[in-house]
């Protein structure tokens, strides 16, 4: 069964994923009430420790915590121990000494939540670490697909974009594979990481082949900075070859949905209309994010027994 921390989907079993998704369904019901608050985590303290800025994810965790009546503290130190005298572990241990019930960590370097979890008494929830994992994003994506499709077995999920630098791609690859879907990755060869098929997905450099028969089309944000590392030649060429619009979407199944973890570059990786119209479901993903994070906080921060410090 699930460990003390939520560091990545890779560590979870299918049954763990199903349990979180079922819990999220109950949590979603809370969000539909007139008074959107339950006393589940009353008296508990959650720390949002965000070394990398992220208004969306941090706000989602904050709202989730508050709907469960937890006290939520936001702490956003400067991002690197190279530029700051205090190291990440010192920062985390300082917070830990104040006895939080969970610490939610985001950092631009892969592995930092794991290092912090190894050092802390409080459970650690990974809110995104470098290109490693973003487990709650994958969980909310699974929740959204379950809502739309009612199942995972037999589905084809195609993830398109900069797979090399994407934690969302990795977490979703693990999550959908474990739940029984087929996962395809589509990108220019420069953005397909070495050995990625060993992780359980099939890699494509042809968008058309990758979309053939897809039930879910997941579009990743493309970052202008990647031009510097010589990963792709221009925004224009990327938009024309891998950007998703209604014309390219015709290769997928007729009832395929389009997802995006946000924030969206309209007209680059996704066309303007798909960003806010069906079959795009991007705002549903955001909405579901709160319910999924409530479930995660309930399951990971709600346990009273703490590890020996």
């Amino acid at each position: 069964m699930m460990g003390r921390d939520l560091l990545g989907i890779e560590d979870l079993e299918r049954a763990d994923l199903e349990r979180i998704l079922e819990t999220a369904e109950r949590m979603q019901e809370v969000g539909r009430r007139d008074v959107k608050k339950v006393p589940t985590l009353r008296g508990r303290t959650l720390v949002n420790l965000f070394f990398e800025s992220s208004t969306r994810t941090r706000t989602s965790f904050e709202i989730a915590g508050k709907r469960l009546s937890a006290d939520v503290v936001n702490f956003s130190p400067s991002s690197s121990s190279l530029t700051k005298a205090e190291s990440i572990l010192d920062t985390a241990m300082t917070l830990d000494a104040m006895d939080p019930d969970a610490v939610i960590v985001r950092h631009k370097v892969a592995g930092v939540p794991k290092r912090i979890a190894d050092a802390l008494a409080a459970p650690v929830i990974n809110a995104g670490d470098g290109a490693h994992e973003h487990p709650t994003q994958a969980l909310l994506d699974c929740f959204t697909v379950k809502q739309e499709k009612g199942r995972f077995d037999g589905l084809t999920v195609t993830i398109i974009g900069d797979i090399t630098h994407s934690r969302v791609a990795r977490s979703n690859l693990y999550a959908f594979s474990k739940l029984g879907a087929e996962v395809r990755l589509a990108a220019p060869p420069t953005m397909l990481p070495a050995g990625v098929e060993a992780l359980g997905a099939k890699a494509y450099t042809s968008l058309r082949e990758a979309l053939e028969g897809a039930d879910v089309v997941m579009v990743l944000r493309i970052q202008q900075e990647r031009l510097d590392g010589c990963f792709f030649p221009s925004i224009r060429e990327y938009a024309s070859t891998f950007g998703i619009d209604r014309r390219k979407l015709r290769f997928a199944k007729d009832d395929a949905i389009v997802m995006h973890p946000g924030p969206v570059n309209r007209g680059v990786e996704i066309s303007h209309d798909l960003a806010d119209q069906r079959p795009g479901v991007i705002l549903d993903q955001v909405r579901n994010g709160v319910a999924v994070r409530m479930a995660v906080l309930y399951l990971f921060a709600g346990r009273s027994a703490k590890r020996e410090g």
Binding site: S87, V109, A110, G111, H132, R170, A194
Partner: protein, 433 residues
């Protein structure tokens, strides 16, 4: 060294230089090997019981970072020298990336002076190949070698300018020493911190591809061949580099090479927990590369086992994986870690010792690597079966950055002689200076 008379009694004497492998006594006198045999006249000699142990010419580590001058909080010549003899090494070759860089004879002289005063192991400095390790202007190679440098290298950095590299190889013939390379093309490494492949993809950390090493080994072999120079390839980690070195040797290029203990027994999968004590440069590679390095060591393509002993302080390693400096300790664990190759019968005891002793001595052209009568009595006594738990905090290095911390080891250096003097004994610790 002091004029001790020591009888090393009843050990398995293993001398690759003489192809000797027999149970015998070794008498050490006046700093030299005086006799090998049985029933030796050992009147008045201190007796070292070596039954069950291997008696070998002292090990010579071609690649260590002693951090002095400049970074004595990580290591210094005294602590590094003690760690060396505790690991069976009677001599260490120390890299030039100190502060200041060893690119001037005054720094070389300082290192040698400190070593004479503080180190139980012999210390052979490496001079920088270019000033300030900047890869632009060559150093006064002749002066550095006259001051005592045994090789030239910009180790830690790669000379990226191929024109500079060519001139360094050409000019090095005046200095008559090998050029040791750190073969990593920085334009291919970029931000890479772990071997590029399934492991880097799982970790979500930037990959450092094998080709970064292979491309530069190919370049350096080509340039050394052109110049007729002696290229020594430091810390080989890839199958591609092993193949290139093997082919170059077959056509007569003067190229020698070394491999580290960690590249012989650990794969990139050791990095999966984000432990910064598994971060090295070059990085730990795939199982295929490890197999190729082991095969290369067995067939003689890779001449030497060298540790790349790279001490870093706890606070420097206890940071984000990308921010941690690369490198691990090696001197005190090389013997047990590489004995695995003997246990797997990939190397005989004699061939294992050749790669730790005889070959390194030949590469730098210094005495050692032999137990012949009359040879300098630098001796390593190893108990190949001794089981112990390695705790860096109890070791002699000032630093603790080891991937083997807390692990049970099989095999250990139990006594070490330098110049005929017993400088280390596993029960009593470092005895001299």
């Amino acid at each position: 060294m002091t004029q001790q008379r020591i009888l090393i009694r009843g050990g398995r004497v293993l001398d690759p230089a003489a192809q000797r492998d027999e149970i015998a006594d070794v008498l050490v006198e006046n700093g030299r090997i005086a006799a090998i045999g049985t029933a030796l006249d050992a009147a008045g000699a201190e007796i070292l019981e070596a039954a069950g142990c291997w008696v070998a010419p002292g090990f010579i580590d071609l690649h260590v970072h002693l951090r002095e001058p400049g970074q004595e909080y990580k290591e210094d010549i005294a602590s590094g020298g003690r760690a060396a003899v505790a690991g069976g090494f009677t001599a260490v070759v120390c890299m030039a990336n100190t502060h200041p860089v060893n690119d001037d004879p005054s720094v070389t002289e300082y290192i040698l002076d400190r070593a004479r005063q503080e180190s139980p192991a012999r210390v052979y400095p490496v001079g920088a190949a270019t000033r300030g390790l900047a890869g632009e202007v060559m150093t006064e190679m002749v002066a550095l070698v006259d001051a005592g440098c045994v090789a030239l290298s910009d180790d830690g950095k790669t000379i990226m300018d191929s024109g500079v590299m060519r001139r360094v190889f050409e000019y090095s013939q005046l200095a008559r020493v090998p050029i040791i390379t750190h073969a990593e093309d920085r334009t291919l490494v970029r931000e890479g911190v772990v071997n590029e492949g399934p492991v880097s993809t799982r970790l979500g950390l930037p990959g450092n591809p094998c080709v970064a090493e292979v491309v530069h080994v190919a370049r350096d072999i080509t340039l050394a061949e052109l110049a007729g120079a002696h290229l020594h390839v430091g810390h080989v980690s890839t199958a591609g580099a092993v193949d290139l070195i093997r082919a170059a040797r077959e056509r007569g290029v003067h190229v020698t090479a070394e491999v580290t203990p960690h590249h012989l027994v650990l794969t990139d999968e050791a990095t999966l927990g984000y432990d910064t004590n598994t971060k090295m440069a070059p990085p730990l590679r795939s199982a295929r590369d490890v197999a190729a390095c082991r095969a290369g060591l067995a067939d003689g393509t890779l001449d030497a086992i060298a540790t790349d002993h790279a001490p870093h302080a706890v606070h420097e390693k206890d940071v984000e994986f990308t921010a941690a400096p690369p490198g691990v300790l090696g001197l005190e664990t090389a013997v047990p870690v590489t004995l695995e190759l003997v246990r797997c019968e990939e190397l005989t005891p004699l061939e294992w010792i050749r790669r730790l002793s005889t070959n390194p001595a030949r590469i730098i052209g210094r005495p050692g690597g032999s137990l012949e009568v009359g040879a300098v009595a630098d001796v390593a006594i190893v108990d190949p079966e001794r089981r112990w738990v390695y705790d860096p905090a109890k070791g002699f290095s000032k630093s603790r950055n080891s991937p083997w911390a807390g692990q049970e080891m099989i095999g250990r250096a139990v006594a070490t002689l330098v110049g005929g003097a017993l400088v280390y004994d596993v029960e009593r610790g470092v005895l001299l200076p």
